[in-house]
Amino acid sequence: MKGRMENFKYNISEILELPKDVVMDLPKIVVVGNIQVNISNHKGIVEYTQETLRVNSSIGLIKICGTNLELKTILSEEIIVKGNIEKIEIYS
């Protein structure tokens, strides 16, 4: 049932060319080089150290590994991470 609903949303956004992160409530991850990652539509921080950042989202955990990670901003809808980014993993 849920799968069908998701499919329907996906098709609609395909047809109307609507952004999928809005329609399907997906997180949007923007990576700027290897120095900055913006994650919008997140569901809270799970872990934060200088080397790893784990963020909850609707598709599961997003793990960002690197060095000297620093949270530039935390808002209820967006997280900006600065630092030397090495790896982005998604556990869905």
Partner: protein
């Protein structure tokens, strides 16, 4: 984000240290409660450092209690805290206000009165008149009534055709334009003669009013009467005085002599220069010597060093004397070339002397060479009106 940083600088923010075990929960709660935190960095396993606004810091208290961590302020930044610190240093603020006050006061004074465009009217006279009305250096510029100054000066000098009074910064600028004085007019009903302004040979005397007393070929000298305003009435044998009018054309002679040595000394710069600085306080000067000037023949150039290119009359002046070495050479000039050059110069000189309506009749050029000096005589024969009205007095 840069704009936000400036905004938070004006609003003031704090750098805080949060110590606890569940710091991620602290961050999540802050985010869901719309408390803006930025520049968060992990110091150690149990310590986070971040920045928060003043309101945000106050709102954090509830979260801190719920999460069970400790918060301490490391630093306070931004304008509100700066002001708070300045409050303790009252004299600094006082000095700043005093400084602004002095600047404002000094820039509201008139420091300079500049008068532009006067040719016949003397600058000193204008300044004297202004001083009588207490308009001088050091008065407050808001007190100056520009219209009154205009009225004053236009009343005093009747040959001004334009006057503007303007205050530019600390300078009172008076711009004026003088009228060209019209030539002296003699009224039509005043009896007058026409006399010669210079010597010459009369070519034509046309009397429109009065009687011509000279004829063609007469030689007249300056001051001779050409057309008289005294007429004899044929019937009553009485003298009648009239306003003489007419044209008297005469041949006059203009000559000019130019002496030019055929051997000329020319100063040629060798390119070597020597500079020396002078420091002047008032009228007394100190020159900084670096030995004697090492050249036998030189040209001296003096230049004033002005700080920041400002046109201010400072009491302390710095002059730079530059000595340029020259080599004196004697050159024998080409006689033909010299003749031509001095001829042209002489004619130019004569052209300045000639009145506007003169007609050049002939030109005569003579050269004499004596003792290495070339004398050039240029003589022009000119036809011009030599008449000038002169009032008949007496009778």
């Amino acid at each position: 984000m840069g704009v936000m940083k400036i905004w938070y600088f004006f609003k003031g923010y704090v750098i805080i240290r949060v110590e606890g075990l569940t710091l991620e929960r602290f961050l999540n709660l802050a985010a869901t409660n719309d408390i803006y935190l930025w520049d968060i960095s992990r110091e150690s396993y149990t310590v986070l450092q971040m920045k928060a606004t003043i309101e945000g810091f106050k709102a954090l208290k509830g979260i801190v209690r719920r999460v069970g961590c400790r918060v301490e302020i490391i630093d306070k930044k931004g304008l509100p805290f700066l002001f708070y610190r300045l409050k303790a240093r009252k004299m600094l603020g006082f000095g700043f206000i005093l400084f602004l006050g002095i600047i404002f006061f000094l820039s509201s004074l008139i420091w300079n009165i500049e008068i532009v465009g006067n040719e016949r009217v003397k600058t000193e006279e204008i300044i004297k008149i202004l001083e009588k009305e207490e308009i001088k250096r050091g008065i407050i510029k808001y007190k100056i009534d520009k219209d009154y100054i205009k009225y004053l000066l236009l009343n005093e000098f009747d040959n001004l055709s334009f006057l503007s009074v303007d205050i530019k910064g600390t300078k009172l600028l008076i711009e004026m334009k003088e009228q060209d004085l019209p030539p002296e007019r003699i009224n039509r009903d005043v009896p007058c003669n026409i006399v010669a302004t210079k010597k010459g040979v009369i070519l034509k005397a046309i009397a429109r009013n009065g009687r011509a007393v000279v004829r063609k070929g007469d030689v007249v000298k300056e001051g001779d009467i050409l057309i008289t305003g005294v007429i004899l009435d044929e019937h009553s044998q009485k003298q009648i005085l009239v306003h003489a009018e007419g044209e008297v054309l005469a041949k006059t002679i203009y000559s000019h002599r130019i002496d030019e040595p055929t051997i000329k000394t020319i100063k040629e710069e060798t390119g070597r220069t020597y500079t020396r600085r002078e420091f002047k306080i008032g009228d007394k000067g100190v020159q900084f010597f670096k030995g004697e000037i090492p050249f036998k023949d030189y040209i001296e150039e003096v230049e004033e060093v002005k700080p920041f290119n400002l046109d201010i009359d400072l009491p302390i002046k710095i002059f730079v004397h530059q000595y340029k070495e020259v080599e004196i050479k004697e050159i024998k000039q080409n006689i033909d070339f010299l003749k031509q050059a001095s001829h042209i110069r002489a004619v130019e000189e004569l052209n300045k002397q000639l009145p506007k309506d003169a007609q050049i009749q002939s030109k005569d050029v003579k050269y004499y060479l004596k003792d290495d000096i070339l004398s050039t005589y240029v003589t022009l024969e000119v036809i011009e009106d030599i008449g000038k009205k002169q009032i008949i007095y007496g009778n």
